[in-house]
Symmetry: C2
Subunit: 315 residues, 2 copies
């Protein structure tokens, strides 16, 4: 297994720098007063295509040889990685094939189409997604880019926390959402290399706690019927992300659905920015664990801002 080192994240940063947004780090007195901590939010909701995924997708696309790139890239995704890969491919002017479940929400489908990718629909099961993708890749020779369990993708995702720690010194904790583990593993490598004393914590919905159970047991346990509003965190860890997380992450904690919604509302109302529920799990962890985080200096990654405005949890 080829494990990324910090120098690989540095190389990725040089490679993607002129294509990505250097997103802002925001603070809010009002939120700090609520949780009695000093929070620094890395705002990847402002990243191109609306999520950190564009960093990893861009690094993967730019790392391909000319010959491979000319065949195009392909992935299966119902969410943010599909749009990110489509935009990254468009930027290099290569073909992009996306396998999406037929029940994917229209706003996600529109984004992928808007970036010019070719969509193939499949049944909404992992098996159907993989079969459909394999068929596509065999037919046209496109390079499969996995949305998280992939060296180049992880290196790209690590650049967000690299920017955060370059900008904000003295962070005691770094909190990162964990679904498949792409952003958590890349973030942990960057954070530990830049600041060995930082405590890196992955945060996961209790209703989709495969990373928590895998981390605690030391064995990769896949997600079974996860059911959470944080729709970006439904996926299971991969072998590569799990290996990195085991070696670089201090702990994984889980949060309740109602805390996720409360945290999302606080971010929307107090900070006036739009984040998706998956982004709110880290603030939810701070709310649920005052005893750990009070009076500490924390970095939190807001992973994305793609929400369906017609289907919000505020009622």
């Amino acid at each position: 297994m080829h494990i990324p080192a910090f120098k690989d994240i540095e190389a990725a940063h040089l490679r993607i720098n002129k294509y990505i947004h250097k997103t802002p780090v925001l603070t809010s007195n009002s939120v700090n007063q609520i949780v009695k901590s000093d929070l620094y939010f890395k705002c990847e909701n402002f990243q191109k295509a609306g999520a950190f995924k564009y960093r990893g997708a861009t690094n993967a696309v730019l790392s391909l040889s000319e010959e491979k790139a000319n065949k195009g890239v392909a992935t299966h995704s119902s969410g943010n990685f599909a749009a990110a890969l489509a935009l990254a491919a468009k930027t290099r002017n290569i073909k992009c094939y996306i396998v999406m479940p037929e029940n994917a929400i229209p706003v996600k489908v529109n984004a992928v189409q808007g970036y010019g990718a070719e969509i193939t629909y499949c049944e909404p099961t992992l098996e159907s997604r993989e079969q459909t993708l394999n068929k596509l890749v065999n037919e046209n020779g496109a390079v499969f880019i996995h949305s998280y369990n992939c060296f180049d993708v992880i290196c790209g995702q690590g650049t967000a926390v690299k920017e955060l720690i370059e900008e904000i010194s003295g962070l005691q904790y770094l909190l990162v959402p964990v679904g498949g583990g792409g952003i958590l593993s890349g973030s942990a490598i960057a954070a530990k290399a830049m600041n060995p004393r930082i405590t890196v914590i992955g945060v996961e919905p209790a209703n989709a706690d495969d990373a928590y159970r895998s981390f605690k047991s030391g064995k990769l346990i896949p997600s079974v019927n996860p059911n959470t509003i944080a729709d970006g965190l439904l996926t299971s860890l991969g072998d590569l992300t799990f290996e990195i997380i085991k070696n670089n992450v201090n702990d994984i904690i889980t949060v309740k659905e109602e805390s996720i919604i409360e945290a999302m509302r606080i971010i929307w109302e107090r900070m006036k920015i739009i984040v998706e529920p998956s982004s709110a799990v880290t603030l939810a962890a701070v709310i649920e664990n005052r005893n750990i985080f009070e009076n500490k200096k924390l970095g939190l990654v807001l992973t994305g801002g793609n929400v369906d405005l017609e289907n919000l949890p505020f009622t």
Copy 2:
């Protein structure tokens, strides 16, 4: 009538600078592509208390003599000015009395209470608001601060566009929402002093078009039964704001309700920031008037971000 000059806005800026947020100016490639113009958004939705009103309220509170300040300040408002004045008074550690209609929405009431102001409820009519306020002011000697038809308030509001033009050179148009005219009149004085060639346009909902009709007729025409989603723009011009607008604003244009909602959705979805409907009228004007604004460099003031998340227009 004492009309503010640009030097009064400069003095206000020096006075309030350390209390306000210097809000960011945001651009969005995605929004620019939709309207084929070059837009610079001054983000007062990120201002303290969630709206530009904090600038004017702070300037008014800080301009009071010690003796007057010690009596406290008072206003009637169902919206953003109430919270802004309450926070400004709290910052100077003086009393604040707010008259609010008994049907004011809870989130606004909570904000005012959270800043420690004393609320007196009245019937939801202008007559009742003014009577209740007069009674209060007579009893306790507090200084009445009008939310827009007031020299010091207008000078404070003008500082937002002063910051915008200091940061972004070469703007051809400045678009500002108009309700009572506080932000439009302050903005116009600043813009014309700093860049005499800029075209300043006020934007108003067609369903609350008193400023448009007053501007076109040259006579102050009050608002009658305005009915718009842009709840910050229901008020009528005052004699002071009207006088400034007549002499400094190039035009006032009106926009349809559906354009306001479309513009608000574009800002939320593409820029990932929360603005209230009143903030979206300027982008609505750009959408409705492509012939005027295409390929131009525009400044737009996003006036505030206080929305009721349980009552959004996206359905």
